[in-house]
Amino acid sequence: MEVRSPEFKQAARIALQDANLQQALGNLKAGFPGKRAAAVARLPEFDQLRDQARDLKNHILEHLDLYLEEFERNVTANGGTVHWCRSADDARRTILDICRAQGAKTVTKGKSMVSEEIGLNDYLEAHGVTPVETDLGEYILQLRGDHPSHIVAPAIHLTLNDVATAFHEHHKRPRSDDPAVLMQEAREMLRKQFVAADVGITGANFLIAETGSTIICTNEGNGDLTQTLPKTHIVVSSIEKVVPTLEDMTLFLRLLARSATGQEFTVYNTLSSGPRRPGDQDGPEQFHVVLVDNGRSDMVGTELQEMLRCIRCSACMNHCPVYGAVGGQTYGWVYPGPMGSVLTPQMVGIENAGLLPNASTFCGKCEEVCPVRIPLPKLMRHWRDREFEQHLSPAGVRYGLKFWSFFARRPALYRWFAGSGNWVLRLLAGKKGRLGKLPLAGGWTDHRDLPAPSGKTFMQQWEARNR
């Protein structure tokens, strides 16, 4: 996918003026956070589970190689194949090769953010294989030629009206605004595709080392059809999703649904453990797991390692006031919101994505709700450090900062500097007590008044009193 993160600011301005988008974002804000809070309130040990999950993830990341190798051994023992892919390109090619070996014309797809990350759809299409998204949200996006704006609810930026329009255009049926009718329409369209597909591709929420299984958690059941009907099932997933045991998996499942949608549990939790065995009624004949690294192993052993605890629940973006204002597509790549502001610079380069970790007030709400306690503000600051170090931050910011810190590092000069600024501001404000306009401070005064100092600086007054 094309990286549009450098245009974050312009995109934000447009998003803020897009009434339709703002309506859709309003629905998100009214929905997920309240549901999560209610679900958390019903589970007194929730915070304890978060601690456990954090510790377990840390343990896994310390022994990532061991668990991944155990996973591969067990997938192989079950009759499946694991493909190790260092880059997005490796992963795309591996998947295309499997499809070609099957002579596949169409592939059905369950929702998978990793497949977005590696730009799979465009690649397959360019090479003569037609991907069909079967998750309702992804299906709508595919019709529109659109991209996900959210990692759990990919079409959250759309309103019912948008969906009705897209269906009307593509399905060539009378327009309806009734969600039930639209759902039925999508079902009918997809049913044919499920049967016709040669290969089914799904993501995975977790990879279970002890059994060589993968699991997907969905609310639609489309994933089940995607992986059981075609002859070949490809799981595309990333290396940090591995957990040691089924028991460990359940810990994360308890946190995942509650953090994401406020459900106690996702509706369909489907485990896949290899191809159909003799005597099985159904299931694929081939089972492939494409394991994507794409920069992740470089994060191990660095400050960013903590980001690999992420279980893709979306709580951080659901609660983020910046995401809530501009929506996910403004971030300009696959992963939006606070988790995206940490991951995107790693995957597309800080020189392309520097605006993202800066687009945060560090309010800390994301960290407050993250089920695996990732210190997202700290990790965004990590990227700001790198950006500053590499002289990538805008020159105006750098010089402004150096000018300011020149004074901040010299107390006597600083007092003079503060006193002068204070005097000028009071002079300009006069009796009004505030400024409606101030040169070089348009960022502030375009939208709000600047309250003027109420008197001389504290230091000036204090010294006068204590002389």
């Binding site: 006031p321 009796k431 960022g443 939208h447």
Partner: protein, 255 residues
């Protein structure tokens, strides 16, 4: 001879120094009421947060060393801002574990408190007496709330003032969009956030907005004024110390 009173070094904060000295004077008054000797070290400037949050580690560390030295020897360091005191709590991150400054930063952190949390521990609430009477609403600034756990403390202090009637706003814990340099780097997004805040403030019917951080208060007061909303804004210590002679933040000077 009376035992000497414990010494508090006041961390003025650059915004209180520059924009609202009353906040620092009110802090002095309240700390003295609580039985402390208050001093204002001259070698303090800013906590360094603008540099820290912009990735400028070198200047952050230099400012941190300067602040640590300025407050050497005080039993407590108290300031009227969750954000700036929160920054003091970040100082240990600026130094490697084996750097002697690390230990000094850890010691400063242990002695550094935001004013309302400090007063809620050390001030006998019976001693608070204020003349303010009316409806107020309280904005929880992010750093204070999430880094220092400040939520109940200012409310408890206010509950001892008979005239103060607290009306909570919707989303009191949601960021106001200030975020230090964020508000000028991303003005459109910041504006949306402070507009939401302004709507929530207005909906309470309160006449006065209170908070514990001047950055956020300047942002919200500036927005309320621009929108022509009649809700006034003050730092919570002004009400607690009964220092209400100065016009509210951004309000017209009295004749």
């Amino acid at each position: 001879m009376a035992t000497p009173r414990p010494r508090v070094g006041l961390f003025v904060t650059c915004l209180a120094d520059m924009f609202r000295p009353e906040v620092a004077f009110a802090s002095v008054k309240l700390l003295e009421l609580a039985g402390f000797d208050v001093e204002v070290p001259r070698r303090q400037t800013c906590c360094g947060q603008p540099a820290f949050n912009s990735g400028d580690r070198e200047d952050s560390a230099a400012i941190a060393r300067q602040t640590i030295e300025a407050f050497d020897g005080f039993e407590y360091v108290v300031g009227p801002s969750g954000s700036c005191i929160g920054m003091l709590h970040h100082y240990p991150e600026l130094f490697a574990d084996n750097d002697p400054w690390h230990q000094r930063a850890v010691q400063l952190k242990a002695r550094a408190f935001e004013i309302t949390s400090f007063l809620s521990e050390h001030l006998d609430p019976q001693r608070l007496s204020g003349s303010f009477s009316g409806k107020v609403t309280y904005h929880d600034s992010c750093s204070g709330l999430r880094e220092l756990g400040i939520k109940r403390q200012p409310r408890e202090l206010l509950s001892n003032m008979p005239g103060v009637q607290l009306c909570e706003m919707e989303e009191a814990e949601t960021c106001c969009g200030f975020g230090g340099t964020f508000c000028v780097k991303y003005p459109d997004i910041s504006n949306r956030m402070v507009s939401n805040k302004s709507d929530n403030i207005r909906a309470t019917g309160a006449e006065l907005l209170l908070g514990g951080d001047l950055g956020c208060l300047l942002n919200m007061a500036g927005k309320l004024k621009r929108d022509g909303v009649s809700v006034e804004a003050r730092h919570v210590v002004e009400v607690l110390a009964d220092m209400l002679d100065t016009p509210p933040i951004g309000a017209e000077k009295r004749a």
